[in-house]
Structure formats: C-alpha cells, structure tokens
C-alpha cells in the first residue's frame, strides 16, 4: 500500500514538469513567478515529508486517531487524483493527459482545554492547478466554547478562522472520504469560488436542540471570507492585476434532521461582498454574491439520495478599465441544482449517479445574449453547464479508499479559470474551449 501511494505521489511532479511546457513558460515570463516555481518545488517536498510522517505514524498503530495525551486528538488525510479529459483541462489549460495536479493533504489537532472549551486547528496543503500550488495554509484555527442545557439544548460560539456553514458538503469539502465524488457537484461547490466560501476570519454563533421529533441547528457566521488564491485569477479574468479584498460578510444555515438522521433539510443564506482594488488609477470595483441554498438528503441502510438547489444573486460593478473594449461588469440571477443517488450495495462499495445543472444567469440560460456582449470571447456554452456523473467507490479499509468517476459535460460554466486558454489582451479566451467534453477521474485517499 505504501509503495502504491508513493508511486502515485511521485508521478505528479515528474508529469507536471515534463508535460506542461506552456505552464513553465507562463511562470517564467514575469520575474516574480520564478520564485513561485522554487516555492512550488519546496512545497511539494514539504508535503511529502508530512505524508511520510503521517504514514509512519498511522500504519503501525492501525487506529483512526492519536490521543497524544488526554483530550487531544490528531487527525489527517491525504488524497491524490488523476484525470483524463477529452476536451478541457480541469487544472491546466493545455489538457495534458493524464493530469495529476489534484492533491489534498491536511492535518488537524483538537484539544479540550476544559469540558466546554475546545481549541482546534487544521493545516491544509492543496495542489489544484496553476494557483493552488500546495503551499500550506491555516484552513481553520479556532476557539470553540459551548454549553449544554439539560442535554437537549446546546449553544456556543466559535471564534478565529472558522468554516463557513454552507450547504451539505462545504464543511469538509477537501476530505475525499466525506465527498460523494472526486469533484463535488460544481454547480453549488464551484472550484473557482472555493476560497470565498470555504473558511473566513470571524465568529460563528450556534445553537442546537435535540428533541424526539428531530434535531435543529442554527449557525450564523459573520466575518471576512478568504480571497488568497482568487487574487491570482484576477489578471486572467479581468486583464489587469489587482487584489480582491473581502468585506464583512454573513452566512447562516438552518438545519433540521429527524432523530434517526434519515431525513435532513438545510437552508443556507449568504451575503458576501468583496472590493476589487485595482493597481491602475480608476475606481475600485465591487463584487456581490448572495446565494440561497435549499438542501435535502434521505438516507437508508443502502441508499443516500441528495439534492441541492441554489438561487443566487451575483453582481460585478465597475470591474473594467476605461478604454477597454469589453465591459466585464455583470448582474446575474443564477440557478443551480443537482440530483444525486448513491447506492451502497456492500458496506465497502458504493455506486453514485448525478445530474448537475448550472445556469449562472437564469435570464439567459442559452448564453446567447452574453456571447454577443462579449464580442465572441465567451461563447454561449460558457454560460451554462450540464453534467452527468457516474462513480464507483471502494473502501478497502476504514482508513483507505479508492474511487473512479466519469463525467459527461455539456458547457463550460464551471470550468476553472486556469482551464481556459489565454487569448488576446492576456485574458481568458473561452472560445478556445470545447463545448462537449468527458472527464474521467481516479482517486486514492487515506485518512486517520
């Protein structure tokens, strides 16, 4: 098992460096990016050291966690994926096949200082194409104080860098074991907007009630969402360098589940704004994103049926530069949803099928108006995406899992910016993408 993992682990660096001449050229163009390459290599080495550490600790003990001493727990995970694409590259614009640029590695610790006060932190190294280069970041780091009343009610506060309460899968979106597929349904869990929704610096107030008729949970987040890797996409999208800085934002999630957890409903509402500070003398832009997500899940011994529906308001103001031929401002009412069925025909095996649809502007579902407005730079099919997915998962042990999946996609609405080739004015040229494409993925994952 260790050998298999290392061979998989070793291949990405070799493949990505050998097969991506265009990527290297891009890195070498501005002098600042040379540093990026060096950093990248040292970070990959660092992640390997962490992996060796994790494996050497986890395998001999053959248990799912470590209790260093009383009330301290250490957990972690590592996943490596491989993709084959017939059209667009998910993590690189030159669609190199096979592509190994999707690695997730995390380690977290949690300590109950008192029965009511817990400290917790997770460090994440994520490699997902050009901008998520594996440099370790603090994914969450928080203080959690909670209080139980007569075992039926609980209230608490989490402060620090906290996970934003967003839909069903956002809480653990980097942990392959908790996902239904290698890539989450992209309509709701858009790869390109990951930073804005994953965690933020601020507070969460929460309350829980446990009654015979079910559990109710309410979580309210207020704070600053992260924008680190989004900043790197700025130039590719808007054609000038700038910084996206989040403003105070709010997310709330109300969750109901029956006592036995078979039926679960969640309602998420969020209001996020970010200021686009430009490096050129022109007024600053503003991006506003306000989604409302309805989630439902039904679980039996063998089946899990899931669906989420998102209706959102997404607006970009004052984003263009004076004299620039295309005005990138937008004002969208988006509509996104998926239906998903997972069937565990054996405790270790699971089959999954999903239909996922994304219309960033529901008033222009065919993308016709947007393609005219962009003067051909973004064709109609870049304004929607319909995805059909089938997948198979095998839990070899409770600690190790492999899975395969196949996606058939019509449209490129959720294709990350890094998968779109660069065209004139140095901005992403969606007309160089494929409308119909297939994406096949394999993934191996370990957790403890």
């Amino acid at each position: 098992m260790t050998m298999l993992l290392f061979s998989l682990w070793n291949s990405p660096t070799v493949t990505s460096r050998r097969n991506h001449p265009s990527n290297c050229e891009q890195w070498n163009r501005p002098p600042a990016r040379k540093v990026h390459v060096c950093n990248f290599i040292s970070q990959v080495l660092a992640s390997k050291i962490v992996l060796i550490f994790c494996l050497s600790l986890s395998i001999p003990f053959n248990c799912n966690a470590f209790e260093l001493f009383d009330s301290v727990q250490i957990h972690g995970f590592v996943s490596q994926a491989m993709f084959l694409s017939s059209g667009n590259g998910m993590f690189t614009d030159n669609k190199s096949n096979p592509n190994f640029e999707f690695t997730e590695l995390g380690i977290n610790g949690s300590w109950y200082a008192t029965p009511n006060l817990r400290l917790s932190m997770q460090v994440l190294s994520r490699r997902a194409g050009r901008w998520d280069n594996g440099s370790p970041v603090i994914d969450f780091g928080l203080m959690d104080y909670s209080f139980n009343f007569d075992s039926a009610y609980r209230v608490g506060i989490r402060a620090g860098r906290v996970r934003q309460p967003y839909g069903l899968y956002n809480d653990t979106r980097d942990v392959a074991f908790t996902r239904p597929s290698i890539l989450l349904p992209q309509s709701i869990y858009l790869e390109g907007a990951r930073d804005l929704t994953i965690s933020g610096d601020g507070l969460i107030l929460y309350g829980e009630s446990t009654k015979p008729w079910g559990n109710l949970t309410l979580e309210l987040f207020g704070g600053y969402p992260r924008t680190e890797s989004i900043n790197n996409q700025f130039q590719a999208v808007f054609g000038y360098s700038g910084v996206l800085e989040s403003n105070p934002s709010f997310v709330g999630r109300f969750n109901y589940e029956t006592y036995n957890g078979r039926l679960r409903f969640a309602l998420t509402g969020a209001y996020t704004t970010a200021t686009a500070s430009k490096s050129v003398p022109s007024p600053n832009g503003l991006v506003t994103f306000a989604p409302m997500i309805f989630s439902a899940q039904y679980t039996t011994d063998k089946w899990t049926l899931t669906s989420e529906y998102d209706f959102d308001f997404f607006k970009g103001e004052n984003l263009g530069l004076p004299g620039f031929p295309i005005n990138p401002d937008f004002n969208y009412f988006g509509q996104k949803y998926y239906f998903q069925a997972a069937y565990r025909f054996n405790p270790q095996w699971e089959l999954m099928a999903r239909y996922d649809a994304m219309y960033p502007n529901s008033h222009d579902q065919s993308g016709y108006q947007a393609s005219i407005k962009s003067k051909g730079l973004s064709p109609d099919y870049s304004h929607y995406a319909k995805t059909m997915t089938v997948g198979l998962r095998w839990d070899i042990t409770p600690m190790m899992m492999i899975r395969a999946e196949y996606n058939y996609i019509n449209g490129t609405a959720w294709l990350p910016v890094q998968g779109v080739p660069t065209g004139v004015f140095g901005i992403s040229d969606n007309s160089q993408t494929s409308k119909y494409w297939d994406l096949f993925g394999l993934q191996v994952s370990i957790r403890f």
Binding site: A65, Q73, P115, N148, R154, T178, T210, R344, P347, T397
Partner: protein, 151 residues
Amino acid sequence: MPKIISCYTCRFRNMALWSLILLFSGSMMAEENVVAVVHYGTPVTTPISRIRLSSIFSMRLTTWSDGSAIKVFVLPDDNPLNSTFCKQILKLFPHQLRYAWDRLVYSGTGQAPVILSSTQEMENKIANTPGAIGYLPKEKKDDNVAILLVE
C-alpha cells in the same frame, strides 16, 4: 378420506412448526446482544433515553449532567459489534455515525470517539477512565463497568 385428513393435519402441523420457527428466530433477532456500558460512578441514571444516547455517540452531547467531560470509546468501523450497536441500540446506520464524526473532525467543530481495537481494551478503558462510555457484548458484562439500559 383418512388420507385427506392426515394431509390437513400434516399441513397444520407444518404451519405450526414454521410459525414457531419464525417466532423463535424473530425473538432471536430482536434480542440485543450488545449493551452500552459506563465507568462506575458516572453521573447518569439508567435507563437512558435513546435520543440522549445517540447524542452522546454522535458527539453532540459532550458533558454529563454535572458538567464533567464525556469520553466516548468505540470499536473500528468494520467490527461487527460496532454495526450491531449502531443498528440495534442507537437505531442508526454505522455510515451515518461515521459521516457525523468526519464532519466534526475535519471542520473543526468537534472530536471523534476514541477507537479501540478489541472488547478487552474497551473493558479496560471504561473501567479506568472517569466519564467513559462505550459498549460490550452482553455475555461479556463484567463487574468492572456499569451497564446502561436504554428505554
């Protein structure tokens, strides 16, 4: 004629036998062969409600009534006793509990139970850890731990 009668009796006997077997196997199935156990002196009264016990094993309820910490111990996911305890006592599927723990652990919102490798280790841990809760096979019940019945 006698033939027919005997055939009827035969059928009746068969039916009676089958229903007896069904009844018996039914009661065998219903009989719980795993029990929840706690450390002696834990501030909890038996029987405990199923909802409260589920909250404890889902790691949502983290303190006993006196404010002391609850220490939850379980067996590995693929241990048959784990599955039996989830289904028969908690009335939950093992994969639901696993998902709930993963959500807590990897989002920084809680801790997972401590996983032990054998029932012997479980017995020792429960006996020696104040505030501990876990489960053991019914026939293995021991004087070192207190049994927690479910209402």
